[in-house]
Amino acid sequence: MNTSDIALRLPASLEVRDLHTAALVDAEAAVGRGGGGPTTKRIVVGYGFWIFLLSDIVMFSAFFATYAVLSGAAAGGPTAAQLFDLRNVQIETGCLLLSSFCCGIATLAVDRRNLLITQLALLGTGLLGFGFLMLELREFRGMIAHGAGPSRSAFLSSFFALVGCHGAHVTAGLLWLGTMMAQFRAKGFRADICRRYLCFSLFWHALDIIWVAIFTFVYLMGTRT
């Protein structure tokens, strides 16, 4: 009886303000601590895909470890220093970095629901990625033509496995990119399409990070010794 009396005597505006500050304090206390109720689907999807990407990077680390162990095992055949052309690697790196940047522009355009810029930026992303892939395939073809195919030595097996695995990821990414462009065109900026795009952009940026490791540990270190 007493408490209801007090509640009645409180001015209405003060009561509302108190409830509001309490909600804000709850929200702030919950940041990054998993509290505050179920999170949005976009964040769950993005986080799940982030976990997948990290597992993909762990898989790549096994290929890197294999290459690091076998990089000296040329079996009397051509060595890294004789095979690699750093000029080609520089152009490949430039292509992939600019492609990643274009993908960032596309992300900004998707956030602002601008279809024209989205499609143009995605086209640029795809063309640069395709250029990278063509340069890599030309390098592989040249090596195989000179008798330095994956069956020549343990070094070359591990090289083709590691760099080829990255190339396969880029190929898959290009197919995904084409699908995204078609889906934006046909279905527009629907929430599920935008979530798919978020995953694609994460995938594409992660591939660039793996390429940084490849050009450093395979090409630069390889031509050094």
Binding site: H20, T21, L24, A27, E28, A30, V31, G32, R33, G35, G36, G37, T39, T40, R42, I43, V45, G46, Y47, F49, W50, I51, L54, S55, I57, V58, S61, A62, F64, A65, T66, A68, V69, L86, Q90, G94, L97, S100, F101, G104, I105, T107, L108, D111, R112, L198, S201, L202, H205, A206, D208, I209, V212, A213, F215, T216, F217, L220, M221, R224
Partner: protein
């Protein structure tokens, strides 16, 4: 209402997905600036890496260390400016997952190198092994 406004990209928990910038609604220019800074820094670090391979200014045995440092720096640039992984509290989940991933990568790579180098050291050289064949 003046304390914090939760942007539409954020959830009720205030967490952020990787790849989302936490600035909330902002102009196209502000977002573009972040990507441009990332592109400029990554380009600079790439050029520095290839320069380190060519130059004689760096003490020879130190060059691989320069490579590793530049590569790690560039990966960090990619993570911050392209993937928008930050140290803000709304990114705690993403950073923890990344840290765990890096731990596994470290264990796989150094563990493999260590074990294989050790086996190499312990095993008989190939020419001696050949001589023992009947």
């Amino acid at each position: 209402m003046n304390a914090t406004t939760i942007s539409p990209a954020q959830s009720a928990t205030g967490d952020l997905a990787p790849g989302q910038s936490g600035e909330g609604p902002q102009g196209f220019g502000a977002g573009l600036k972040s990507y441009l800074i990332g592109l400029a820094l990554a380009t600079g670090l790439t050029i520095a890496s290839f320069w380190a391979a060519d130059t004689h200014l760096i003490y020879g045995p130190g060059v691989p260390i320069a490579f590793v440092t530049l590569a790690v720096a560039q990966m960090g640039i990619h993570l911050v400016f392209f993937l928008h992984i930050t140290t803000a509290p709304d990114n705690t989940n993403n950073v923890l997952a990344l840290a765990f991933g890096m731990l596994i990568v470290f264990l796989v790579v150094t563990g493999s190198l260590w074990i294989m180098a050790n086996l190499n050291h312990m095993s008989m050289p190939m020419d001696q092994l050949m001589r023992m064949q009947p």
